[in-house]
């Protein structure tokens, strides 16, 4: 699984342009979900895509992310549209994008509990340990991904950035 964030001109590793997205033969995942993904939905038609949603940022912007180009996030209406129209998968990426390995069990459970049932989960910053992986498994997810680590097991699957 490939990790992307924004669809647009390259500014940093958080951006991939339309040509790169169109040419990628692998399963794609987007964390966010940034509104430019909605605006470029045509380039995703026919692809296997998972949208990992960050709950607290739905419908808001990335002003919390100092130094990044200002971007807006999709509303739930726009996210549901992408899922319904193109058959994309919906995944959870926590409410506030914390390092789960630094939280108590209770705090982890709050962050990994989505507002509606979802099959897939992605760890913020890719940070995961055995305890967190077990909590994610026990929450009912079918699989979980990390971009930085993991032993490749069902709840520590690896994903990687789409290379420029």
């Amino acid at each position: 699984m490939i990790l992307c964030h924004n669809i647009g001109e390259r500014h940093n590793s958080n951006y991939n342009n339309r040509n790169e997205i169109a040419a990628c033969p692998f399963s794609l995942s987007f964390d966010g979900i940034y509104r430019n993904v909605f605006f470029n939905q045509d380039v995703l038609r026919g692809k296997d895509v998972t949208l990992f949603v960050m709950g607290n940022y739905v419908g808001k912007d990335n002003s919390f992310d100092v130094g990044q180009k200002p971007e807006k996030y999709c509303t739930w209406e726009e996210i549901d549209y992408l899922v319904e129209q193109y058959g994309f998968h919906l995944g959870w990426h926590t409410w506030s994008h914390p390092d789960l390995t630094q939280l108590s069990d209770e705090q982890v459970i709050k962050e990994i509990t989505p507002p509606r049932p979802m099959k897939y989960f992605a760890y913020p910053y890719g940070n995961v340990d055995e305890r967190v992986a077990k909590l994610v498994e026990e929450s009912g997810y079918e699989a979980a991904w990390s971009v930085t680590q993991g032993d490749g097991s069902q709840f520590q699957k690896r994903r990687q950035y789409l290379n420029w």
């Binding site: 509303t75 209406e77 726009e78 549901d80 549209y81």
Partner: protein, 162 residues
């Protein structure tokens, strides 16, 4: 593609391009509504790039929706126009006025038409300038061209499913 913050800036003042007071725009609106009325009425209409809803509000449909990225513009929608950020279901009329230009998000608009048009799509653009993608929308069942501002306006009614 034109950045959204630029679009928002344009719509800070009401009717920034003076559609409501320019004779060519009043004429264009009349032609579009007359054409829609000739082929209608409709159950559900969607105006893609609705602006402030000035044309949208008079579409001959029971249910009228407007897709508009600018919050400033959409805040001025008349009461009978419902803003949609993500269209739902099928529309038997889709209006696409002044959106199929190279610097706009024409790929997204083509997706909306592909996903949601069930019968008629009314496209109106300045010529020259209209993107070639419009030719792929469907079968043309009516076409006319008239003087509009400093150039011409081409209006086509397409039917899908033929």
């Amino acid at each position: 593609m034109q950045p959204i913050d630029e679009i928002e800036k344009s719509y800070k003042a009401e009717d920034p391009w003076h559609y409501k007071t320019t004779p060519d725009d009043i004429n264009r609106k009349k032609k579009l509504i007359d054409l829609a009325s000739k082929f209608g009425p409709y159950e559900r209409a969607l105006d893609i790039g609705a602006g402030e809803g000035w044309i949208t509000q008079d579409l001959p449909a029971k249910e009228i929706h407007g897709y508009e990225v600018s919050d400033n513009a959409a805040s001025r929608f008349p009461e009978n126009v419902k803003r949609v950020l993500a269209p739902q279901g099928k529309y038997d009329l889709i209006l696409a006025t002044g959106i199929f230009y190279g610097h706009y998000n024409w790929q997204l608009f083509m997706e909306f038409i592909r996903n949601h048009a069930s019968k008629h799509i009314l496209v109106s653009s300045m010529v020259p300038g209209e993107h070639v993608c419009v030719n792929e929308i469907g079968k043309v069942i009516h076409q006319e061209e008239f003087k509009y501002r400093h150039c011409n306006q081409r209006t086509r009614m397409f039917q899908v499913g033929l």
